[in-house]
Amino acid sequence: MEQEADKLVRTYIKKIGVESPGQDFLQSVMSKIEVKSDLAPVLIKNEVLISLKGWFLIGMVVLSLSGMVFFIDKDSQIPVLIQFDTQILQNYFSIFMSRIFVVGMVIMALFVLLHTWMISRKLDAWYLRHKHHM
């Protein structure tokens, strides 16, 4: 009985088939989409937080900082002058950084770079996912 009902209903539902929209349905949909060009779901491949130029600059800074480690003596100190141009302190203060300090700074810079890369990847992915809901 149940199988008979199933068979009969299936036959008749298949028989009525699908309804069709008007002739100009496709054109209407496409024109709605083309008019609202801001709706485009296109993934903008080059729209990233840090451009190639930016990465090159960051790379150069890291390389030059790393290079400094090899060009200084083991026991030397790096003089850095900081000028305090105020009325109270009108002298030059010299700050000396030890080699180990410079190495530490370079390592920290590398960490910052790594984190920047990771964060930018996450933000890029989030942006592409939510672009059309913004």
Partner: protein, 190 residues
Amino acid sequence: MAISEDQYIIEQILSGNISAFENLVRKYQDMVFTLAFRVLNHHEDAEETAQDVFVKVYKSLSGFQHKSNFKTWIYRITYHESINRLRSKKNKFFLVDLEEGLTAGFNDTNQNLESAEEKMIIRKVLQTLPETERVMITLYYFEDMSIRDIAAITEMSETNVKTKLFRSRQKLYDLLKDQHSFFTSFTHTT
């Protein structure tokens, strides 16, 4: 893993080929329109809803993550858009255009009269069901979709879908079996 035709088209659209969207519209326009029409029973409303569905699909295409299949996704959007439109229309004292629902598809001059009459009777019988059940019956018997997919589309439990399908099938059967004997005798005599 081989990518499906839908997935390939979606990738084309997302890489900037907007005209590839035409392929998706062509492929799904009849079924999207049919589902909207099953809910709304009104040609213009169903067509507007179907257009809104495609615009919505286009807008959210980049967010589609292939977790479900594209067909299930687009039918779910269609079902909810249609139900929402029906609710807003009901709030405005919308009267279902029953006659239009019954005569849809009749402008096909190649259809012979008996087939057209038969279709009209089946449509009339189908319209005795609530809108959600009309959609379920269409998806189950015409699209051969699984209970699981129908549950995903209508956002109901599988048990609920099974119950509704069983109930509506019984109702349709009771109404159609008399028509069936009429149709078969009509076919034999002609």
